[in-house]
Amino acid sequence: MRLSHEETTFWYGCALRAAGLPAGAVPAAIAMIQWAEIRHGLGVAYFDRRAATLALNAGAMRLRADNAIDGGGQSSLLVGPALLDIAIVAAKTQGRATIAADNIGDAGWLGQLCDVAAERGLTAVLSFTALGSDAVDLAQLYSARRTIAALPDGTAIEWNMAVALPDHAPGTQNVTLTVADPARDAGFAAHILAAADGATILTRDDVAARYRDAMRHGMDVDAAAWRRLAQRAFTVLAQSTEQSLRGAGA
């Protein structure tokens, strides 16, 4: 079935609230899922696979060091924005940063972080390894995809399983995000681009075009998966009663 980009905002939001994500963290998580759908056609599918085990307790995350996050078994929808924030601040002050995060419950939505980093004028590359069911899912979802988006000003977005960069080698059940600020460390930013040699190149315009295309034509998703997602979303909607009708408008 085909969905509009606009309606997914509502339904993802309800489903995430149902899963326990705090309301203030929902918009960022929605953006990550929508990116996965637009970029790879995998947002709904991956949500369907992971929804039953989404872990969204912010209190479980720990900052092990300035460059190391213990995800506490929580979803990338929660860990991801925090990981990117820390990487951005470090890159803005030091020119480059490599931040590792382990013990993440799922990793399938993290690719959007590189898009966001690029929007901030940074060059970013992200790699991960995974175990168990997440590894199976990710292998199915991303193994054949090797994509890099390069922007005219020299920044880049990268989604890649293995990139040869210093300190970037991911360990077990680990995500490593390396970010460079071309304005402060142009050499390292170029190094990131060179390390991703051979990847599919997307320009900023290409990325924007994908969003426009999603806006114009919507997205085809598996109907059964979507129906299950909607059913989860429905749990945050109140059943109508005489009592609730008294608090309703026209």
């Binding site: 509009s4 203030g24 912010a58 929660l78």
Partner: protein, 570 residues
């Protein structure tokens, strides 16, 4: 001689330069509620465009029985691709009609779409309407909409026309419409086309033009429907509804709490609309007041007095009420007449600010906008920039810096005493009934744990508390690591730069908050001129009274149609 002033040079409206009224006096529920429709309302913009481009609206199919049941298809030829409006017309028992969006049956359901329509497409969409929550629109469909017939005058009009006479004008004026719109579901809902995905140069690509065009088409259908039913029901003596009555009748609308979350979720849009209006008012007040313009103002005010004193009466209470508004506008008319050639717009507005009810003042402001249409061009361009900025934060900002911004821009929110029970009396949530927004009483009604976001003041107070507790020099990345629930609050504050009118300065969950104020504001922004609150929670009113008919539009005649006079059957 009129002088056109450049409006804005940047990507946002610069309120500091152009808007003389401070946000504290504009962005409150009561002040927003006082705003009156104007040339800057989206419906006025649409009608002006339709007339300028001579859109042609034609009945392509009208297969209705004696009771008006069946299918009608309208083709709308614009300067771009043609549009089609497909109506599934029914006739409900009077007891089955409701103003609520959660009903299952209506007198009319319709969809507006791009491109051609086929029998298969019509049949497919009709089937989808049956499941209004899960039903799917095709990608060329712009939106779905529904109406009910007026219980007060629809049958009277058909009976009169079938009997060979025109209906009673007083009864028509008391109702104001033949069909009452129950909503529009577009911009992606049901899988329909997303507004942001429409080509920039499409005829329907302006904000809310898809929604509002369906109102115009419902009005057209209501005229054709009563003519058809009278002809089928009557003898050879049946007459058609007089064109003067058709012009006077608009299309009804009932709107409720669903508009409140929209206002809260889109501060940039709200700012852009308010700032555009303030900018034009400010520049209009500086224009010279020549004799022609003064006379024109006098005419507009006289029409407003007649319009508010006749027909639908706005009951006093939450709003000013027709009697109070009319009385104040009569004082305004007298003031204009007494000032004569010595009148200056600025002085008149200054007097009105002190002497008149805010609704009368805003009627004057809207009239000034009417006098100087050349000032509106740049403002309209700015209003089109409706997209909200992305949900992104600058994590490198320090907590101290954000706190300073918060305390400056959200002082009104931080000053609210939320320790009183009444300050947090209500919570808002969504019903499974067609996703209808409702509010409940905290501690009494269920579903509080799934409270939906309207409480800007509470969110900002939580953010302040966290910022005050942050270690000196801490950047927001560390704060948000520990408190991801504050991410939206941080993004909202950081995005507030340049949008002083965007936040409604009120505690939306307070026991004393009146939803009707913001409902009326939004309907006025769309173009509704007269609105009557049916309770604290919903408003009924009429769009398009006096608007040009399809033949006027095709002839390029927009007309001077605000505050229509009582219709005369010449």
């Amino acid at each position: 001689m009129k002088k056109t002033v450049s409006f804005a040079t940047g990507s946002r409206l610069n309120a500091a330069v152009y808007a003389t009224r401070p946000a504290a006096g504009i962005a409150t529920p009561a002040a927003l509620s006082a705003v009156k429709a104007s040339r800057l309302s989206f419906l006025r913009i649409l009608i002006a465009r339709m007339a300028k481009e001579r859109w042609r609206i034609a009945k392509q199919r009208f297969d209705l029985d004696d009771c008006g049941r069946g299918i009608a298809v309208y083709r709308i030829d614009t300067t771009d691709r043609p549009l089609h409006f497909v109506v599934f017309s029914d006739q409900l028992e009077e007891t089955a009609r409701t103003d609520r969006i959660i009903a299952n049956h209506y007198d009319g359901e319709a969809f507006l779409c791009l491109g051609e329509v086929t029998a298969e497409r019509i049949a497919a969409q009709r089937g989808e309407f049956a499941d209004f929550l899960y039903g799917r629109a095709d990608i060329e469909t712009l939106g779905w909409t529904r109406v009910n017939r007026s219980g007060r005058i629809f049958d009277h009009v058909v009976d009169a026309l079938a009997s060979g006479r025109q209906p009673d004008i007083d009864r028509l004026m008391e109702a104001g419409y033949l069909l009452r719109n129950n909503g529009y579901w577009g911009n992606g809902r049901h899988g329909s086309a997303s507004f942001a995905g429409l080509p920039a140069d499409t005829a329907i690509g302006e904000p809310y033009h898809g929604d509002l065009l369906t109102l115009y088409l419902w009005r057209q259908f209501s005229h054709d429907l009563v003519d058809h039913m009278a002809a089928r029901r009557g003898t050879t003596g049946a007459v058609r509804l007089h064109s003067a009555l058709k012009r006077y009748l608009g299309v009804g609308n009932a709107s409720g709490l669903g508009l409140i979350p929209f206002v809260i979720r889109h501060p940039q849009r709200i700012h852009n609309w308010c700032a555009a209006r303030e900018s034009v008012i400010t520049r209009a007040k500086a224009m010279p007041a020549d004799r022609t313009a003064i006379a024109r103002l006098g005419t507009i005010v006289a029409r407003a007095i007649a319009y508010y004193s006749e027909g639908i009466q706005v009951r006093a209470g939450i709003f000013a009420g027709s009697a109070r508004l009319t009385a104040d506008l009569e004082r305004l008319a007298a003031r204009i007449a007494a000032q004569g050639d010595a009148l200056s717009w600025s002085t008149l507005c200054h007097w009105a600010t002190d002497a008149l009810h805010p609704e009368a003042l805003e009627t004057l402001h809207s009239a000034l906008i009417e006098l100087f249409p050349d000032l509106c061009g740049d403002a309209l361009a700015a209003m089109r920039r409706s997209a909200s900025p992305p949900e992104a934060v600058d994590p490198a900002q320090s907590a101290t810096e954000l706190l300073a911004i918060l305390e400056t821009r959200y002082d009104w929110a931080l000053a609210i005493d939320r320790t009183l029970p009444q300050a947090r009396r209500h919570f808002w949530y969504l019903s499974a009934d067609n996703l209808e927004p409702r509010h409940g009483v905290r501690g009494v009604d269920p579903m509080e744990e799934y409270e939906t976001f309207v409480d800007v003041a509470g969110m900002m107070q939580s953010l302040r508390d966290a910022l005050l507790a942050a270690p000196p020099g801490q950047t927001l990345d560390r704060l948000l690591f520990a408190r991801p629930d504050l991410r939206h609050a941080v993004a909202r504050v950081q995005a507030s730069d340049g949008y002083p009118y965007g936040e409604v300065r009120a505690n939306i969950i307070d026991a004393d908050f009146e939803p009707c104020h913001l409902i009326r504001f939004l309907l006025t922004a769309y173009g509704m001129e007269k609105l009557d609150p049916q309770s604290r929670l919903w408003v009924r009113g009429t769009f398009l009274q006096g608007a040009p008919l399809a033949e006027d539009i095709a002839a390029g005649k927009e007309g001077d149609w605000i505050y229509p006079w009582r219709p005369e059957l010449g």
